[in-house]
C-alpha cells in the first residue's frame, strides 16, 4: 500500500494546471512509494480556487495561501503563484518544516534566493524548482556521456534560449517587464539555458554580458494609447567561463522572430560533440571522433526506452514524450526525494546559483566588464 502525500497547490494558471496534470499522472507512469493526493488548492479568491479545484481534481479550495500553508492536511506546498509570492510562501512553508516545490524563477535577486535556500537547508526538507527541461531523458544521456568522458576534455559550450513571444511592439507591458521582478528575458527564459549549462558542465565562474532593451516602451494592457517604459533586458549575450576550464557563449532573447522554443546547446569535446534543440527534444545529435572519417558524421539519437525514464511513458522508441511529460518526470524526482531518494538536481540551492549568474550578468552589462563569481 502506497503512502499518500497530500499536495497543496498555490496558483491555478497554466503552470498550476501543468502541475496538477503531473500529480494526476505520475502514479500510473512510475512505480513510486508515495501516492500524491490533490488535497488543497489556493488562489487569490475562494471562487477562483474553487473553480480550479473542480477542474483539476483537488478535494478542497481556499482563497488565501496562508491558510494553505498552515493547513495540517497539506504535507507539501507547491507554488505556481506569481513570482513575487515565491519567497513569502516558501519561507512560510519551510518555517513549518514542509517541503516546497516552486516554479522558476525562484526569486528576483540572488540575495533573496540565497535566503530561501538557507531556510530550506535549515529546515532540512526537500525543495525543488521547476527547471523541467533538464528532466528530459536526452539531457540525462548528455550529462552521462560528459561525465563518463565520452566527449573527452570539454573545449566549448554554446547555449541559447530564444523565443519570439514579445516581438510585437503592441504586446503590452506585463509583470515580466517589472524591474522589481528582477531581470527580463535572461530571467524568464535565459535561466533555462543557464541551468542547463550548469547541469551539463558545472559552475560558471566568470562572465561578461551585453544586455539590451530593444523595445523601450510598451502600451499598457487595455490602454494601448498609454505607454510605459521598459527597463529590463529583451536580449542578453554572454561570454562565460566554466570552473572546469572550458569557455562558451550563452544567449537569450524573447524577440527572436520565428523561434518558438530555441533552447539549444552544443557541447564540444576532444572526442566528440553533442547538439540539442528543445524544439526537437526527443533527439540528441552526437558526433563521435573516429579514426576513419569515411562513414562518420553527426548522428541523430532518437529517444527510446533505452534512455530512462522514457520507457515509463512508452515501450517503443520514436513515439516521443511531450512537454507535460517532462513535468511528470520532475514530479517523480521530487516524490522520490521525499521518499528518501536522491535530492532533485534543481533544488533551492541550485536555483540560487542560477540567479547568481543572472545577477552577475546584470552587473557585468551595466559596468561593461568581466565579473568573477
Amino acid at each position: 500500500m502506497k503512502k499518500p502525500i497530500r499536495i497543496g497547490l498555490v496558483g491555478s494558471g497554466f503552470m498550476g494546471r501543468t502541475h496538477a496534470l503531473g500529480f494526476r499522472s505520475v502514479g500510473a507512469v512510475f512505480d513510486l512509494p508515495l501516492e500524491p493526493v490533490l488535497e488543497l488548492l489556493a488562489d487569490a479568491t475562494q471562487e477562483l480556487a474553487a473553480g480550479a479545484a473542480a477542474r483539476y481534481g483537488f478535494a478542497r479550495a481556499v482563497g488565501d495561501w496562508h491558510a494553505l500553508v498552515d493547513d495540517p492536511a497539506v504535507d507539501v506546498v507547491d507554488i505556481t503563484a506569481p513570482n513575487k509570492l515565491h519567497a513569502p510562501i516558501s519561507l512560510a512553508a519551510l518555517a513549518l518544516g514542509k517541503p516546497v516545490y516552486c516554479e522558476k524563477p525562484l526569486a528576483p535577486t540572488a540575495d533573496e534566493a540565497l535566503a530561501m535556500a538557507m531556510a530550506a537547508e535549515r529546515a532540512g526538507v526537500v525543495t525543488q524548482v521547476g527547471f523541467n527541461y533538464i528532466c528530459n531523458p536526452m539531457l540525462a544521456l548528455a550529462r552521462e556521456m560528459i561525465e563518463a568522458g565520452e566527449l573527452g576534455q570539454i573545449w566549448g559550450f554554446r547555449g541559447i534560449h530564444a523565443e519570439d513571444f514579445m516581438i510585437s511592439r503592441r504586446s503590452p507591458w506585463t509583470w515580466r517587464l517589472d524591474p522589481a521582478g528582477g531581470a527580463g528575458a535572461i530571467a524568464d527564459i535565459g535561466s533555462h539555458i543557464i541551468g542547463m549549462a550548469r547541469f551539463l558542465l558545472g559552475p560558471i565562474d566568470a562572465l561578461i554580458a551585453d544586455m539590451e532593451t530593444v523595445i523601450d516602451r510598451r502600451p499598457l494592457a487595455g490602454r494601448p494609447e498609454e505607454m510605459r517604459a521598459v527597463e529590463v533586458d529583451d536580449q542578453a549575450r554572454l561570454l562565460v567561463r566554466f570552473a572546469r576550464g572550458c569557455r562558451g557563449t550563452i544567449e537569450t532573447s524573447w524577440l527572436s522572430s520565428g523561434r518558438k522554443m530555441q533552447l539549444e546547446f552544443e557541447v564540444i569535446g576532444e572526442k566528440g560533440a553533442l547538439v540539442f534543440s528543445q524544439e526537437r527534444f526527443n533527439e540528441l545529435h552526437y558526433y563521435k571522433v573516429e579514426a576513419d572519417g569515411t562513414r562518420n558524421g553527426f548522428r541523430t539519437i532518437c529517444a527510446g526506452p533505452e534512455h530512462p525514464p522514457y520507457g515509463a511513458f512508452c515501450i517503443a522508441g520514436g513515439h516521443q514524450i511531450g512537454f507535460n511529460d517532462l513535468k511528470v518526470i520532475e514530479i517523480r524526482n521530487f516524490l522520490t526525494a521525499l521518499a528518501g531518494g536522491p535530492k532533485p538536481f534543481a533544488d533551492f540551492r541550485e536555483a540560487y546559483e542560477v540567479q547568481r549568474v543572472i545577477d552577475a550578468a546584470l552587473l557585468s552589462s551595466r559596468e561593461e566588464r568581466w565579473v568573477r563569481l
Copy 2:
C-alpha cells in the same frame, strides 16, 4: 457538476496503461461535460487485474472480461486486450448497448470488422478505434488545408509506416506473426498509414500490392533452438488509387533498419504540398506555390496553440505534445461523442474500411494483380 461516466477497461499492458493515463488526465486538460471514472479493470486473472487496478487507479478489478462487460456499474467498455478478443468483447458490450472504445486492429479480417461495425450501428452507440496518430493537431491542420482547397487539386500521395523492431533474426515468433490474427506488418503498423491516407484524402478504390516475408523462420520465445515458420508479411508495398481521383504509394515494413517511427506522408497538390513525419509530429512541412519563387520554399510549421487542441496542453508553441497526449485527444473525442457531440473519425465502420484495404492488399499480392474495392 459534470456527469460521471464509468469506464471498464479490459487489458492492462502497455496500451491499457496508456488508456488509463488518458482517462486520468483528460478532465484536467479539456473542459468536458462528462467526467470519466476508473470503475473496473479486467485482466486474465484476478491477481493481474488487481495489481494493475491499484497502479492505474481503478476502483475495482476482475479476472474475467465477461463480468466486466456485464457489470451494471460499467457504462463504457474499453478494450486493450489481445487482438483475438476484440470481437467477442465488443459484440458482448454492443449487445448490451454499451459504447465501445477498442484498440486497433479491430479484427483480423474485414468480414469480422464489418460484423462488429454493423453490430455497433444496430446498437446505435458510439464506438472508437485507437488510430491515435490522426488525433494530432497537425493532422487536423493538414486535413483542414486539403478540404479548404489550399493545396488545390490533389495530384499525389506518398505514405509509409516503417519501423525496425522485428529486424533481428533472433526476435522470437510472437502473436504478431500468427496468421490467424490476420496480416503482419501491414496490419500491425501499416493500418496507421492506411487510416491516415483515408483521413486526409478519403477512400482508396483500387490497389496493387507486393508483400513479402523476408525472415521466414523465427525462434520460439524461450526455445531459441526451435524455429517456427513465418507466414505473414514483413513488408508491403502498394500502388493505390483514391476515389477522389489521385494516386499514390503506401509502404510498410517492420524491418526498416534505423527507423523507429517512420510514419510519414507527402500530399502533393497543384497549389501546394504537405510533408509530415511522426518522428517529429509537432511539425508540418508546407510548400505553397507562389508566383515569386525567390523567397519561397518548404516551411516548417511548428505546433502551437493556434493549432487546436494543442493549446489545451500548453499555452505556448514549440513546447510539444507527446504520444500519450495524442491518446488524451482521442479520449476527448470519444467522450465528446458520448455527450452527443460529433462522432469520432475512427469508429468501427472506419476500422472496417481500413481492414478492407488490408484484405484487398493480401488478395492483390497473392494473385499479383490490381484489385478494385
Copy 3:
C-alpha cells in the same frame, strides 16, 4: 607530355555548355593521360555554332553535324543535341569507329537503344551516357558499402525523382511531351532514379507501373489559346523487384509542388541503411545497426577528400562540389576509359537497360499487370 584528344561537340544549349565547361576544367582537376582539345562545335546553323564556339572556346564551328562526325580532326563525338538526333549521330560516329559521349535519354525506345549499344560493341569503342548523378562521390561510397556487405542483405529500396517544373497548366507543350520521343517524366527524369537503382543494386527483373497524365492538354508555345493534347506520363509509380532478390518502389513526377531536385533513395539492409537526397548531394545518411542503441542513430556523412574523387576538387571536407563538378567527374571517367582504363558505368549498354525498364513500365501501366524483364 599529355596526348591531346580532339572533341567534337554537337549541340550548344545548356547541356552543351555544361560539357564544354567540363572539358575546360577536367585537365586541371585530374591528372589524366589525355588532354581534351575543344576542336569543333556543331549546331543547326553555322551562325549558331560559331557564336557558341566563341563563347565556349572551341577552335572551329560548323552548321551540320554530319560534317563534324566526318571531320578527321575530331577524335570523339559528344552529343548534346535534341533527343531524336542521338541515334543518327551516334550511329554515324560509331560507323567511323569514333567513341561517343551522349546525353540521356539515349533513345526513345529500348529497341533503338539496343541498336546503338550493339553498334558500339561492334565498333569496340568507348561510349558514355550522361547519367551524371551517379558520378557523385557519395554514390560511389554508397555502392562500395553495399558491395562490401556493410549493409548486410538488402531488404528494400525506395527511390524517387520528383521535380515541379511542369506544374503550371500554362507551361506550354514542348518536345518533352512528344510521344515520338518516348515516355514523359519517367524518361526525362525517372531515368535518373532507375539508373541509380541499377548502379546500387543491379538489374530490376520485374515491375508493375501506374502511370498517368495529369494535365492532359497544354497550350502551344506562343499561342496560348491553342491547346494540344498531352499523351505522355506526368507521373509514374512503380513496384519493382531486383534480380538480387530485394524489392522496392520507384516514383517519378514533374508535377511535385515545391520539389526542385528530389532525386532520393533509401537502401535498407539487415545491418544498416542509407538515405540520400540530390538536394543535398554532398551528404549521405547512414544508419549502422549496433547492439547498443543508446548512442545510435542515422548519421550525416559529409563529403570530403576521404571520399574520392572529392579531393580532386577541394582539399577539405564540407566545402561541397556542385552539379557541374559531377559532369567533370563523368568526363574524367570517359577520358580514363579512352586512355585504356575501366569503362564508364553508364555506357550505351547500360542506357539500353535503363530504357528497357522504362519500356516495361509503359507496357505494365497500359496493361495493368506485372511485367517480367
Copy 4:
C-alpha cells in the same frame, strides 16, 4: 571580340589551382568583355612553377615572383602565395599600377593591410581579396532582403565559423600557428564570418573577445617527439556591436569536433529572420513574420536561377553550385571591375576593415575589456 587580359598567378598550391580553374571556366559561364589568358605562373622554383603551369594550363612559368610582377605581358597579378608574401608582392604590383587579386588573409596585422589598401587607392587600380563565401547567390539574396527592409529593423546577429581540422593533438605545428603571421583561428577562418557579418550588416564598432589557446604545444612536422609552443588562438568568442545599432555574437574555432564547414549565421529582424549554413550553402532559411501563424514557419529557400548568378551555372533550381563555382563568381566580379564595372565588395580596403576587427579582438582578449573601433 573579347579583350584578352593576361593573368600572372603566384602560388600553385590548392588555392592556386582553384584560381586557375576559375579563370579557365569563367568565360564559358559568364558573358564578359574580358577574356582571361593564363599567361604566367610563378612559384618558389622554376621546376615547381613549370609543373604547375603545365597542369593548370599556363603558357609560361617562372621561379621568382619578382619576375612575374615585372613581366610586361602580365596585366594582373593574382596572389595565392604564403601569407607573408601577400604584402611584398601586392606592393610591387601596385607600384607598377597592376591590379591585384589576393587570397585572404591580406596581411597579419591591420597596419600592414592598411598600407596595402592605401597603396591600392593611390594606384587607383582594382583589388580583390578572396572572401569567396560572400559570392554565394544566397548571400546576395540575404543582403538584398536586409537592405530592402524585408526583415525590418535588425535586432540581432549570430555568426560562427567552426571547423575541426586542428582537433588532433598530433596535428603538427604549421605556419597557421606562427604568431608572426597574425592571429590563429580568428584570422584563418574567423575572418570569413567577420567579413560576412560586415557584408550583411555593415561595420562593427565595438567588441569584447575571449580567445584561448586550447592545445598549447604541438609536435613539429616530421619530428613528432619535438614539441613547439602554440601562441595563437584556437578559439575565439566575441560579443559585437554594429554601427547600425544591432548587437550580436561571433565565434570561431578550428577545434570543433565534427564540424567541417560550420560557417553559419542568423540575422534576426523585427519582420523576419534569416538562417544560413555554409554546409548547405545552396539554401537560405527565411522566416517572415505574418499575422496568421497557423501556416507559418521557417522556409527553406533552395538556390535556383531566380537567384543570380546561379542561372549562369545551371538553368534549373536544386542542382547546386559548388565551392569552386563561388570562386568563379569572385573572378567574374574581379573581371567585371577591371572592365569598368562596380568594384568588388571585398577589396583591399574591406580586407583591412576585417583585419581591424581581428586586431581589436586580440587587444580586447588580452586586456579583457571592451574595445571601440
